[in-house]
C-alpha cells in the first residue's frame, strides 16, 4: 500500500502527463542544509598549464577542488563551469582544447568525495601543453543530489 499526494489537471485516474505531481515518484533533490554544503558556487583557482608528455605516459592531471560529501554512496552531481574569459557556460566538462589531445576540467565523484580535476589526455601518443593560463581561474557551481547515480533508489 502506498499513500501520498497527487496533483493533476485532469482526473487522477487518467494517464500521467508532465504536468502531474505524484509524491510516490522520486525526484531530483539537493539537500540545502548540509555541512559541507551540497550546493555551492565559487571561483576555482590554481589552474596550471599541465602537459602530457612521454614521461608521464601522455596523461597529466591536477586536483583543483576536493570535498567529502558525507552521503556514503555515489550521488548524482551537476557541475557547471563559467569561463570568465569568454563568457561561456559548460555542463560537466569545460574544454580548453580537444583533438589529438583533450584538455579539460571535469568532475569525479565516488562514495565519499567530489573532486574537480584538470586533465590533459594525449591518448597514449600526443605530447600537449594545456591552453589554460598558469594561475587561471574559472567559476563553478556544483549541486550534489541526494539521489544515487550508480544504484536504484529501491536498492538504498
Amino acid at each position: 500500500m502506498s499513500s501520498g499526494i497527487r496533483s493533476s489537471e485532469r482526473s487522477v485516474k487518467s494517464k500521467s502527463t508532465p504536468e502531474d505531481f505524484d509524491s510516490r515518484r522520486s525526484r531530483l533533490q539537493v539537500a540545502m542544509l548540509k555541512d559541507p554544503a551540497h550546493l555551492n558556487i565559487f571561483e576555482l583557482s590554481g589552474i596550471t598549464a599541465i602537459a602530457s608528455t612521454v614521461g608521464n605516459g601522455y596523461y597529466a592531471q591536477e586536483t583543483l577542488f576536493s570535498m567529502k560529501h558525507g552521503l556514503g554512496y555515489r550521488p548524482k552531481v551537476f557541475v557547471y563551469f563559467y569561463g570568465l574569459a569568454n563568457n561561456s557556460y559548460a555542463v560537466g566538462t569545460y574544454f580548453y582544447g580537444y583533438g589529438a589531445a583533450d584538455d579539460y576540467i571535469t568532475y569525479r565523484v565516488d562514495d565519499e568525495t567530489l573532486e574537480i580535476l584538470h586533465i590533459v589526455d594525449g591518448y597514449d601518443f600526443t605530447e600537449y601543453t594545456s591552453l589554460a593560463p598558469d594561475g587561471g581561474k574559472i567559476r563553478m557551481k556544483y549541486m550534489i543530489c541526494s539521489n544515487p547515480v550508480n544504484k536504484l533508489m529501491v536498492e538504498m
Binding site: 499526494i5 539537500a31 568532475y107
Partner: protein, 269 residues
C-alpha cells in the same frame, strides 16, 4: 487563474521564495523520475543492432539518461540528428527515445566503443517532455532569502525503504522542504545552422543566466538523444534574458532539445 499547491523550502517565506526555492509548485514541471531500471547492454560494437531498452509508451519524447555502473559515466548523445531520415540516423548510431520506447541502434561501423559491450547500466526516464515548447509561469520576488533549519516543514516518506519519519537523509523522502527541487522554466527545441555560425538562441526571461541541460533531436522531432550531465555537446553563452547554445566544436549544425531550469547559474540559494 492558476490553482494548485506551493511549498517553499524550510525557513523561507512563501511570498519571498524564488521559484527555484520552492520544494513544490504544482504549476511548474520538475525532474520527477518516471522509470529507473537496470539494463545490461549486449555486445553492440561492430554489429548492426536495434535493441529496445524500455517501452515507456509516454506519447512524448522524454528526457532520459543511461549511466554505466562500471565506467562511472553517462552515454553521450550522438551527433547526426540533423539528418532527416531514419536511415541516416541508423548510420549515426547511438541511444535514442521516440514517443514509445528507448532504443539503442546503429550500423556496424557507427558504434565501435567496446567499453559499452556487456555493460550493466541504469536507465532513468524523467517526466519531462523535452522537445515540447513549454514555458513555466514566472514569479520574481524582490527579497532574497536562504533556507534555514526550522521546526516547520513538509516531508513525505518514500516507499522504497524502511526509513522512518525521523530520518535526516533526503534520500528517504520523495518530498522534503529541506531539499531543493529542479523546477523547469522552459523546454523546447532550437536549430543551430551554419548560417547562424552554429549558434542557436532561446529567450528564457528569468532575469539572470540559468542552469540548463541539452541534447540532440532530429529534424522531424521523432527521436531525442539522452541527456548526459557529465558531458553535453553544447556550450552556452547566457544573458539575463537569453541563452545561446553553440557547438563544443567549431560549428554546430544540429537540432538541440533543451531544458532550462529555474535555477540561476550565478547563485547558490
Amino acid at each position: 487563474m492558476a490553482r494548485g499547491l506551493s511549498i517553499s523550502q524550510q525557513g523561507i517565506d512563501l511570498e519571498d521564495a524564488q521559484d527555484s526555492q520552492k520544494t513544490l509548485d504544482t504549476r511548474i514541471r520538475n525532474m520527477d523520475i518516471l522509470v529507473e531500471k537496470k539494463v545490461t547492454l549486449p555486445k553492440v560494437s561492430g554489429v548492426a543492432h536495434n535493441i529496445t531498452l524500455h517501452e515507456h509508451n509516454l506519447g512524448f519524447l522524454p528526457a532520459f539518461e543511461l549511466y554505466s555502473i562500471k565506467q562511472n559515466k553517462y552515454m553521450e548523445p550522438k551527433s547526426g540528428f540533423g539528418s532527416v531520415d531514419v536511415q541516416t540516423l541508423l548510420y549515426s548510431g547511438g541511444l535514442t527515445s521516440d514517443k514509445f520506447r528507448v532504443t539503442l541502434f546503429g550500423h556496424p561501423f557507427s558504434f565501435t566503443d567496446t567499453l559499452w559491450d556487456d555493460n550493466e547500466c541504469i536507465l532513468r526516464i524523467y517526466n519531462v517532455a523535452i522537445t515540447e515548447e513549454y514555458e513555466a509561469p514566472l514569479v520574481t520576488p524582490t527579497s532574497r532569502s536562504t533556507a534555514k533549519d526550522t521546526n516547520y516543514g513538509v516531508k513525505i516518506l518514500a516507499d522504497h525503504n524502511d526509513a522512518d519519519i525521523t530520518s535526516e537523509e533526503l534520500i528517504n523522502y520523495t518530498l522534503n522542504t529541506k531539499g531543493k527541487a529542479f523546477g523547469i522554466q522552459k523546454t523546447g527545441t532550437v536549430i543551430a545552422q551554419q548560417n547562424t555560425g552554429g549558434n542557436a538562441t532561446v529567450k528564457h526571461g528569468l532575469g539572470a543566466p540559468p542552469n540548463f541541460l541539452a541534447t540532440f533531436t532530429d529534424y522531424s522531432r521523432t527521436f531525442v538523444g539522452p541527456v548526459a550531465p557529465d558531458f553535453i555537446p553544447v556550450l552556452a553563452s547566457a544573458t539575463n534574458e537569453t541563452i545561446t547554445f553553440r557547438g563544443a566544436q567549431a560549428a554546430l549544425v544540429a537540432n538541440v532539445a533543451y531544458i532550462i531550469f529555474k535555477e540561476f547559474a550565478d547563485l547558490a540559494i
